[in-house]
Amino acid sequence: MVHIVDGALSAPVLIGGGVAAAGGIALGLRSLSLEKIPAAGVLSATFFVAALVHVPIGPSSVHLVMNGLAGLVLGWAAFPALFVGLLLQAVFFGFGGVTVLGVNTVTIALPAVLVGLLFRRGVASADSRLAGLSGLLAGSLAIMLTALAVALVLWLSGEAFIPAAKLVVVAHLPVAVIEGLVCAAAVTLIHRVKPDLFGALVAPARPA
């Protein structure tokens, strides 16, 4: 539900989204030295596949977004990585659109980067419960920020979208809970198995 399609948003919103996305991507690429591109690419592919995982809610199901976890693992590189994922989804699956690519990138990647910055210390802490809690908050907060950003761009595009914008936020509350729990479990496992994953792309390159 986080994909907005072509035709709904107003021109200033589309242009603003495109410019902001280009800025975020440029910042993200600057943080990626050429040595780290293979790691970023493989992780980006992993988040692409993770977004196809469906989790049942009652009779229906939702697909994971995992943008909070992407922010924790990739830092600013989450911007280009999630952009690549959205581009591939739009071109080969028809999810999203062309003119909205910038807006969709910002609404998903900006929350990812923000929670990444906020909770990076928490997930790297020696205390596994604190790490899990940080993962929970990061996963939930990223989805809520994404829902609020989608609602904001709808609201900026016209008064008539306000009820739809409110519905987007309400509909994402259960998704945020599920994403938080899944993200907490993922962080707990990474914390136990390979804790330096969280610094792999953020910290300066380790000697290979």
Partner: protein, 259 residues
């Protein structure tokens, strides 16, 4: 997503007219088409882009069934916005549902969004979705996208099928141990461990990839080998597309009604 990257179920069996064009032409045409289509206002004129997209679908020889199904899947994302519009846009009432008046203006706006979204997605799937993902990367590099972004795209495309196979393997192992997804904490925790494990393995795989690449003299740049060339077909197609898009814009400015 092995069925979308590699052995794609919607890949055309025989290349159509679209596949004879340079990938860059197809990307630029799809973007121009999207920009023109979102700027149109008249509902009748908006049938034009839909017809053009249908023609492109036929010219790309994509199987109509699966491609239209993908388009319909996208409609699922927006249907709730469209359904609410008639009730939230003020205007003359067309009909009422449980005492809520639905306005003509809102209906028209919802129809315009649906037409635009579907036409653009169909055109994108036909022009760009019908090429190899790697070709897309090469074409974007030739269109002067930053080199590191193109490399990121190429690595992502390369490893989606690999990671997807890994995901399926892990999922099968869970199933063999009796895992059935339900709405409960156990499911969320198991899926979380699954995603975490995929990330751990992905990073370890990327370390092996980097070492193997260094072993073969990787200096941080991937030479992109391709022989993309604009030809006469591209000139003809470009001219035709330019005329069609200009005609749509002209019709729209003549016809513009109280939408």
């Amino acid at each position: 997503m092995s069925h979308a990257f590699g052995h794609d179920s919607t890949a055309p069996t025989t290349p159509g007219l679209i596949q004879a064009l340079d990938p860059r032409t197809r990307i630029l045409a799809a973007v121009a088409f999207a920009l023109v289509t979102v700027s149109l206002n008249d509902l009748w004129v908006l049938l034009g882009p839909l017809a053009l997209a249908g023609a492109a679908l036929a010219a790309a020889r994509l199987p109509p069934g699966p491609t239209l199904k993908r388009m319909a899947l996208m409609d699922g994302f927006i249907v709730f916005i469209l359904v609410m519009l008639p009730f939230t846009v003020p205007g003359e009432a067309a009909f009422t549902v449980f005492g809520w008046p639905a306005s003509w203006a809102g209906l028209e706006q919802a129809a315009a969004i649906a037409l635009k979204a579907n036409a653009i997605v169909l055109m994108l799937l036909s022009l760009v979705g019908s090429m190899e993902p790697t070709t897309l990367g090469h074409a974007l590099a030739r269109l002067r996208l930053p080199e590191s972004l193109v490399h990121l795209l190429l690595f992502t495309v390369r490893y989606i099928a690999v990671i997807d196979a890994e995901y399926r393997r892990l999922r099968r192992a869970m199933q063999a141990r009796g895992f059935r997804p339900r709405t409960n904490g156990h499911t969320f925790r198991s899926i979380g461990y699954l995603v975490g494990m995929m990330l751990v393995r992905a990073l370890e795989r990327s370390e092996r990839i980097l070492q193997a690449m260094k072993c073969r003299g990787f200096t941080g740049r991937l030479p992109l080998l391709d022989d993309l060339r604009y030809g006469r077909a591209d000139a003809v197609f470009g001219a035709g597309a330019g005329v069609a898009l200009a005609a749509l814009l002209a019709l729209d400015s003549l016809h513009v009604g109280p939408v």
